[in-house]
Symmetry: C2
Amino acid sequence: MTPALNATHDPKLRSWVASANEAGCDFPIQNLPFGRFRAAGSSSDAFRIGVAIGDQVLDLKAAGLVDSDDMNALMSASAKERQALRAAISAGLAEGSGQQAAWSGKALLPQAKAEMAVPCRIGDYTDFYTGIHHATTIGKLFRPDQPLMPNYKWVPIGYHGRASSIGVSGQVFKRPQGQTKAPDAAEPSFGPSKRLDYELELGFFIGRGNALGEPIAIGEAEEHLFGVTLLNDWSARDIQAWEYQPLGPFLSKNFASTLSPWIVTMEALAPFRARFERPAGDPQPLAYLDAPSNREGGALDITLEVLLQTAKMRAEGVAPARLTRGNTTEAAYWTAAQLVAHHTVNGCNLQPGDLLGSGTLSGPRPDEAGSLIELTQGGKQPITLPNGEKRTFLEDGDTLVIRGYCERAGAVRIGLGEVSGTVTA
Amino acid sequence: MTPALNATHDPKLRSWVASANEAGCDFPIQNLPFGRFRAAGSSSDAFRIGVAIGDQVLDLKAAGLVDSDDMNALMSASAKERQALRAAISAGLAEGSGQQAAWSGKALLPQAKAEMAVPCRIGDYTDFYTGIHHATTIGKLFRPDQPLMPNYKWVPIGYHGRASSIGVSGQVFKRPQGQTKAPDAAEPSFGPSKRLDYELELGFFIGRGNALGEPIAIGEAEEHLFGVTLLNDWSARDIQAWEYQPLGPFLSKNFASTLSPWIVTMEALAPFRARFERPAGDPQPLAYLDAPSNREGGALDITLEVLLQTAKMRAEGVAPARLTRGNTTEAAYWTAAQLVAHHTVNGCNLQPGDLLGSGTLSGPRPDEAGSLIELTQGGKQPITLPNGEKRTFLEDGDTLVIRGYCERAGAVRIGLGEVSGTVTA
């Protein structure tokens, strides 16, 4: 079952943290996403569990709401326990709450003064491939005669990624080096990637896990999902093209992946669920991937934007320029619940804090593509930025930003915040 | 540089633990592999760091040699620190040592009374594909016209595996279910795998890690290798065939992987290094994969055996029957040092306790194959066991055992112990 609406979603609810009530704020009291933070500059301190409220972070331990700094332990709670914690945070932050005096003194820190960490300890990271428009466009580049593999509409295609190189928004990484081979070259050569790309994704965090050998039924999958972040799955296309057969992407992906710092919970997303329907004529999912709850509300209605700021723009004080904007309901062929059911159907065990990437979420229209390889038609058609600069792939000094938010009539807008990352020479 | 021979390898060295001096023992004083153990039945106790000696386990903390139970911390030590610890353990266990009285009382436990754990916390697990004979045979089944991909002799092909489902010898797991599709079927179907297989591999454990963005040069790679275990990378061939394109194996592998409990250190393997030479006519490795030390002693001379015990054999008290025996020097196209250099060349960070699988180590001759799909020619030619039973793939109740050992003139034989695992319905 998808999480139900309750008092914490009430559009009339306002917080005594004034910035949370401003129009367009990502973190109103209806959101309450979780992250790990410490005061900027206090590099010897442990990271603590915080909740974003307006432009502040609520320190859950200082507020007396948790007694540990272990986010993974918090994530392993049952759906009922999670809802109780959310209700307590909401009540304490609401206008008129008796907690205002106590919390505003010792339990709030401006986000501008906080350093954020990857939100939890990620045991295993799996990246899926749910973006059917992405898969089709990429497939055309590699296999014009057969863009979508015969398994695509049956199997939620996924593969294991690298957990150690996942960083948090603000991550700066060196352009990866590796082997590449031009189609007409006799031998591969070695050097920096010339086709460095981003991938626009959502990251789903697992809450309560399952034991080895005990699959999670699709009807129960939502209870094992903790929440959502933004994920940039950086990709070196030239390294990928040479290495990926027969066992899939490896060094083309594992040099860095970047997450937004705040996990927006499935409870917070309850007002933004959507029907999940397959296009007419497509095969119906096998039984283990199908459930009434998944059809009725399995999809998420999230708007995603990608922005680019070049080194020149940064030097001149020019804000990031938007490359694309699209919506997840049009992009994803499989729901998060289907990913959980598929991942565990063979008995594989998921653990609290495990991360499932959605795959690149490109919309159906060309200008909704979630990567440069799509926007530039395989690097053949450069895009022109508002300041006249051109890009086929990312250049040194480029900062890529992904933002996400949910808007619907009758609900208060909530945001996922943003994830930014910068490539250096 | 590969580890040097020193006093701990002296063939004349004997231990006051008498069983360590018996011919054919896997764990003489020249070996000293690390594992995590607790007294069998003490399920509330934490696992402790132990060293196998003869048929005993030396408790390193009780012996005063370490002050923590954290194997990953021990693995993160420098090569020099590791050698110092090995020297201290060797000196304490040697005949005539002053430690005999103290240790034999409080710091020894019979292995028969110990419960073993996965030897460390595995952050990321990467599986490579270094077995060129395996790659060729498997390639022929899928692509008769092009058994080896054009990248095979240039790129140490690897992909990320699942860390959460790795278990220790003795693991019992349920036959995985999943989607499969017969070549002539219009649609896939769902059910238990009918082509469950094992894969004979070595596992290389990372010791000291590297920072993100800082590759490990091949000449320094050996210093980042902690040691070796036996690894069974169970594989569901029918699930694999349907799911693996375009992103590689996923549910066909991640339901279980099983390790032997003892990590034989690179120091212990110093007498069993071999020249690493490419067949005449093969391309030379790119510079980042080539070093004099790798050519001179990059290979490991380990004999590996695979044995099968069916439920019927177990019920009748019949010992496991050997399926194959082969040697790693003939099977692996890439060395462990090359795997480390390749894995990090793009800046990817390795961490203490990370596991690198070798891939299936099949020898050049058909009866040295490291999997059933090879031994049975894709399931077409069943093998006959000594008791008359036949197998194409594994059946419920089958126990698969891998053993490994090193033998050379002038050195004391050491063993890697064994890894066994059993599939149930």
